[in-house]
């Protein structure tokens, strides 16, 4: 029997599901499973019993809770696909809207983090799901394998006063460059899970934390980290960092 799979979106940009659609493995995935619900590409709009549910997007409206619970009741396993579903995501920046992780209202069996999740990670996860295995994520942070770190310790004591390198600093960036924190530029690598091949860092841009932390709670990780480093007043007050991909959990 083929596994029945459901793919649903809550409040999202559709970037996660479009990543799934464009991953190398998707055609093979489609053949090996039975897609039971995926409104993006299919007219089928009833939620039925299934083996695996992948959910993209955050909860921003009460009406989504019912849908989510319905899915949970019908699915043997539920996974959060992407950072919106896993942590709340970009809508956390809103002061007016709620942005809940799906785990706020239903139990989940795992996450595939990232905004969007790296294609390699999606590929690996889809294969493991077809084989009915658990998703495996690295338990290390981004710094542990960062090309800018070498054997050095992370310079937590340096004053940090910039969000991004200025454009002339960018052009001189190369593999011999220092850790961003060394240069006074905020990098969330220390509290971010590895798994993206350092794609931002390789372009000369610090990590904004899109894969989320290794241990569960995004906000407490961020509070600890920001209090550990020597962050300028301007950046301490800047909400764009603190609420970038998650905010403290609220009740529904």
């Amino acid at each position: 029997m083929k596994l029945k799979i459901l793919i649903a979106s809550l409040t999202s940009c559709s970037g996660c599901i479009s990543s799934v659609l464009s991953s190398d493995i998707f055609p093979q995935f489609l053949e090996r499973i039975k897609l039971s619900y995926f409104p993006f590409i299919s007219d089928e709009n009833k939620i039925e019993e299934c083996d695996i549910a992948l959910i993209e997007g955050c909860i921003s409206m009460d009406s989504q809770i019912e849908l989510l619970k319905d899915i949970r009741n019908n699915a043997k396993k539920v996974y959060a696909l992407g950072t919106c579903a896993a942590f709340g995501g970009i809508l956390s920046l809103s002061e007016k809207k709620k942005a809940g992780a799906i785990s706020d209202v239903v139990q989940i069996d795992g996450i595939i983090p990232g905004c969007p999740p790296p294609l390699k990670l999606i590929g690996n996860c889809l294969i493991r799901l077809i084989e009915n295995k658990e998703i495996k994520l690295s338990e290390k942070n981004l710094c542990s394998s960062c090309p800018l770190r070498g054997n050095n310790n992370i310079p937590f004591e340096k004053p940090v006063n910039k969000l991004n390198p200025s454009n002339d600093e960018l052009t001189i960036f190369n593999e011999k460059s220092n850790c961003f924190l060394d240069n006074g530029i905020l990098c969330l690598g220390p509290i971010t899970r590895e798994g993206c091949d350092h794609i931002c860092i390789e372009q000369g841009i610090p990590c904004e934390g899109c894969l989320g932390p290794v241990s569960k709670d995004y906000t407490s990780n961020l509070i600890n980290f920001l209090s550990l480093i020597n962050l300028s007043k301007d950046l301490t007050k800047y909400k764009g960092i603190f609420y970038r991909f998650s905010k403290p959990k609220i009740g529904w």
Binding site: S9, T11, S12, C13, S14, G15, C16, I17, S18, S19, L21, S22, D24, P27, L30, L35, F38, P39, F40, I41, S42, D43, E44, N45, S60, M61, S63, G89, I90, L91, L93, S94, E95, K96, K97, C115, P116, L119, L163, N164, S166, N167, D168, L170, T171, I199, C200, E202, Q203, G204, I205, E208, Y238, K239, G240
Partner: protein
């Protein structure tokens, strides 16, 4: 009494409903309704300029490059910076990659099954498994284009969705011969696939007259045009009214045409009698040349009946992918891509506000920002293609629904009007920004 019937749209990007209002056993009105409203215009308030492009990218996973790039353009206007030619070329490549993916997904998953059904070539319900088996060659050609579009944006954007490299001032870019060779092969491959797909479209559909219910009523076509040529990055916004009346759209004075209250969803048009249309059809109407001989041959196979029909947008999707692949091949030959050119530093702000425009795959996309004394955003207005088209969508689906309901079969109404909606290729993520 007015009865309201709600139906969920399927095979559209995001969550949309149609609301059908029935009064005295007749359909009075139909609205295409978009539920979640995220409020990005509110999110942007208080954000630093360097942070804004990265945030707006998350409005949409399909036109993320356009969102990021129009944001950079708006900010560059404030700094009065002229982006170097290399960055412009890379931005164009990113937008081409995005278009390949967005248009090919829309064509295959949304338009193609509807076209088969509308022209009675395949009348049974078609599910995703029927679709991929329908013509395996089409499936594999399309699939390859989706992946190539994705890869191109990964190669030039650092990430295939929510690109990292476009920043205010240009694009982070290090020349690499290897990358150029790979991407050249990609575009050649896309062109050869597209030749097949375009021919397939012509063989299947060109002999038919498109249905009248899908005819676009009298509208204002709005699109960028660069000296009357096709260009999605640079140019002047132009309105075409009726058959041949062209007007420049004064971007700086857009409130003469439409405006919005950024705290609520939707656009208000000054001229309530004329709807606007943006997207491939408007580009086709406004622009006089795609700059490609092959294209003129293909286009000549379709007459005026097609040109004024919303179903033509799906053919234009294929045409635009073809044009942009040809243009991209020219870009890849440009020696400027081989040199290392530093990006200008963002020094002092010259203007407290900036307006930018690009043509996203689904049509004209305008961002307008104002900053406060601390140089963080105090107001943002985003005019997004799907939002601009909604008035016209509602007009067309209402007319069609009224006519269909003469037979009193509500299920048929629900099913059929969705075909019009899908033909517009609405992007609900964008529209719920």
């Amino acid at each position: 009494m007015i009865q309201k019937v709600i139906d969920v749209c399927t095979r559209v990007e995001g969550h949309g409903n149609v609301k059908i209002y029935i009064q005295n056993d007749e359909i009075s009105n139909v609205e295409f309704e978009i539920l979640a409203f995220r409020g990005f215009e509110n999110i942007l308030i208080g954000k630093k300029l360097s942070d804004v492009p990265k945030i707006v990218s998350r409005i949409c996973g399909l036109c993320h490059a356009s969102q990021t790039i129009v944001s950079c353009k708006s900010i560059e206007e404030m700094y009065n910076i002229k982006v170097n030619q290399q960055s412009v070329l890379v931005r164009r490549l990113l937008m081409a990659g995005e278009l390949l993916k967005s248009h090919s997904m829309h064509y295959f998953f949304q338009s193609f099954p509807d076209l088969l059904n509308i022209f009675k070539i395949y009348t049974k319900p078609i599910d995703i498994y029927d679709l991929i088996k329908y013509n395996p060659q089409l499936t594999s050609h399309i699939y390859e284009i989706i992946k190539i579009g994705n890869d191109i944006d990964k190669l030039f954007g650092g990430r295939s969705i929510h690109a990292i490299t476009p920043i205010p001032g240009g694009v982070i870019y290090r020349p690499s011969r290897n990358r150029i060779i790979i991407v050249e092969k990609y575009f050649l491959r896309v062109l050869s696939n597209l030749e097949w797909i375009i021919k397939n479209f012509i063989d299947l559909f060109s002999k038919f007259n498109p249905p009248e219910d899908f005819v676009i009523p009298n509208v204002n076509f709005l699109s960028l045009s660069n000296n009357k040529s096709y260009d999605r990055y640079d140019g002047i916004l132009t309105i075409k009214k009726g058959l041949a009346e062209y007007q420049d759209f004064r971007l700086e004075e857009y409130i003469d045409y439409f405006d919005k209250d950024p705290t609520i969803r939707g656009i208000d048009f000054t001229d309530k009698n004329h709807n606007y249309l943006v997207g491939p059809i408007s580009r086709n109407q406004v622009v006089e040349s795609y700059g490609s001989d092959e294209i003129s041959g293909y286009l000549s196979l379709f007459d005026e009946k097609w040109r004024n029909n919303i179903l033509y947008a799906s053919f234009l999707n294929l045409i635009e992918m073809y044009v942009e692949s040809q243009n991209s091949l020219k870009i890849l030959e440009d020696p400027i891509l081989k040199s290392t050119i530093p990006l200008p530093n963002l020094k002092s702000i010259i203007s407290r506000e900036g307006i930018g425009v690009v043509e996203a795959p689904r049509g004209s996309l305008i961002h307008h920002y104002r900053i406060n004394k601390r140089n963080v955003l105090k107001e943002a207005k985003l005019f997004i293609a799907t939002e601009i088209n909604i008035a016209l969508i509602n007009n067309m689906i209402s007319n069609y629904a009224r006519k269909l309901y003469e037979k009193k079969d509500l299920n048929k109404v629900k099913k059929e009007i969705q075909k019009i909606i899908r033909a517009f290729d609405p992007c609900i993520s964008c529209a719920t920004h």
